[in-house]
């Protein structure tokens, strides 16, 4: 899919989220810096991939965008409108336009509601259509995501993982949003099911003209789905580039290590493996300076001191590393 417009649909600026982590008695609270001053734009119609290690803050970023939690600071603009200051009714109104597909197809469906009621709920909440219309739309949507209409009367636990994920996607699309955050929609699924869901997502993106933030830790998948890719490490973005450029010539040492570590069945694709040493630092105590310096094979002394600024390294390609 090509980038249809350079106009950003979503613009986030220095978004930060800290979670409180209670410490022992008498001590002040500790903070988990889940997202640390992240800024990027998503252009209308594009798919932005967001990759990174587990716990680096991908889901937090996604949920902040979907306004499922309050950011600690920073701004989110959607079609030029500031979302962080919205309250109550306004937020609920806004939800028609921004939807989230959850990572876990098991946990995100209420085990006690039928599929039909799960799909109708968004319409009911926004008082759209009559009862019969809602039923109709829900059933239509089931077909759109490749399921039989009869599934409407089933319960989530009666469905397979792939089917549940289809429901999750269907629910997100019920309100015809223009922007969807897909938080690892396939990582809980099997290889063969995964490809079905990816196909479906691509199909739906086209069909509904969706702009997507596609979160994943599987680089193969991100590469397949995204127009541009943002790489995250310990709550910070480290590289942002068009997908092809990134996979061809990643600049940041972390991205390079990440790419090299992808196991592949194709001998030809195997790269020189960069095996990192050490462990991912805890977000409770993120290292000073460049967050990656503790594991970086090329780290220099000054990496421990300053967080480097963004540097353009190619067309639409930016990285944050002192060594480039």
């Amino acid at each position: 899919m090509s980038i249809s417009s350079l106009e950003p649909l979503v613009a986030i600026d220095r978004l930060t989220k800290r979670y409180p982590a209670a410490a022992g008695f008498g001590k002040p609270k500790a903070w988990v810096n889940a997202v640390n001053g992240v800024s990027f734009n998503i252009r209308s119609g594009e798919t932005l991939g967001l990759v990174g290690e587990s716990g680096c803050g991908k889901s937090t970023t996604g949920q902040l965008l979907a306004r499922l939690m309050e950011p600690t600071s920073g701004s989110i603009r959607f079609r030029g409108r500031e979302l962080t200051t919205l309250r109550g009714r306004e937020i609920r109104e806004m939800r028609k336009h921004i939807q989230l597909i959850f990572q876990d197809p098991y946990a995100s469906l209420n085990p006690r509601h039928t599929i039909g009621s799960i799909l109708e709920e968004p319409l009911r909440v926004h008082r759209s259509g009559s009862l019969a219309e809602r039923r109709q739309q829900a059933r239509d949507m089931l077909e759109t995501v490749g399921l039989d209409r009869s599934y409407a009367s089933r319960y989530p636990h009666e469905l397979s993982g792939g089917q549940r994920q289809r429901i999750g996607i269907a629910r997100a699309l019920m309100l015809r949003p223009s922007f969807v955050v897909a938080d690892e929609p396939v990582s809980a699924l099997d290889v063969s099911v995964q490809s079905q869901i990816l196909n479906l997502l691509k199909e739906l993106q086209r069909h509904f003209a969706l702009t997507t933030l596609f979160v994943s830790h599987d680089l193969n998948v991100v590469q397949y789905m995204s127009d541009r890719v943002a790489v995250m490490y310990l709550g910070t973005l480290v590289e942002l580039a068009p997908a092809e450029a990134l996979f061809r010539g990643a600049v940041h040492p972390y991205t390079r290590a990440l790419l090299s570590a992808i196991p592949s069945v194709r001998d030809g694709e195997r790269r020189e493996r960069i095996v990192l040493r050490g462990e991912v630092p805890s977000p409770l105590h993120p290292p000073a300076g460049c967050p990656f310096h503790t594991r970086c094979p090329q780290a220099a002394a000054e990496c421990a001191l300053v967080l480097p600024d963004w540097k353009p390294v190619g067309l639409d390609h930016y990285a944050r590393c002192l060594l480039i």
Binding site: Q63, L68, R92, S108, L109, N110, H157
Partner: protein, 269 residues
Amino acid sequence: MTRNRNVHLLVGGALIGAMLALMLVSWLYVPYDVNSMNPAGRFLAPGAKHLLGTDNFGRDILSRVMTASRTAFQVGFLTVLIGAAGGLLVGAAAGYVGGWLDEALMRLMDAMMAFPGLLLALMLVAVFQPNLTNTIVAIGLMAVPGFARIVRSGFVQYKEMDFVKAARGIGAGPLSIVFRHIFPNILSPFIVAATMSFSGAILAEAGLSYLGLGIQPPDPSWGRMLNEAQSYIAKAPWYTLAPGLMITMTVLGFNLLGDGLRDWNDPKR
């Protein structure tokens, strides 16, 4: 896999069913007038005329036990209703809103827990009357903190679950989230707590009767009968047996029923 669970539901259901049947019958028919005394027929052992014998006033124990089952169920249902409704309200508010409201409400609940139920009962009786309603209100109020805690911990646990987030994500309002999404999921512990407090209420009524606060004589109540019968354990052991077994069977029945319902309510089973 579900065999034992069904047994819980089955046995519990059967016990409660029998009790309820006894209660229903009591409206249509009791062998004798509950309060009519017979000085000539005191302490009659169970026999053809009096199936469960007679008490110290020569009243028919079966009739009294049957009639008392109404009060028992009334006390049970209403106190659970008060406790559960209050607990749901407080627990949901504390758990869902969180912050200072949570703190304030939960401390209030702590205070209520530390407060002797007897004093509360005495107060209600002093302000109003020592009757059934006040007994029920007192026991019901004392049950609120227990429910509130369960509901609150459920809310704290489920508030951050993906499916609740998903509901918020589609714009569902707080009421819908509380009642449609979270509450059905904490129904299981809630049911267990409800059955436990049902049985607790029956025992508490007995305890309050013991102190003269519950149902007023001559109206029969299981607790009161049990207390009165204590004096005649050797002379008329059947007297204590009747209400004692009723209480035991009802409480056991409800506890088993609660366990059974919990398992039955589990969608994954």
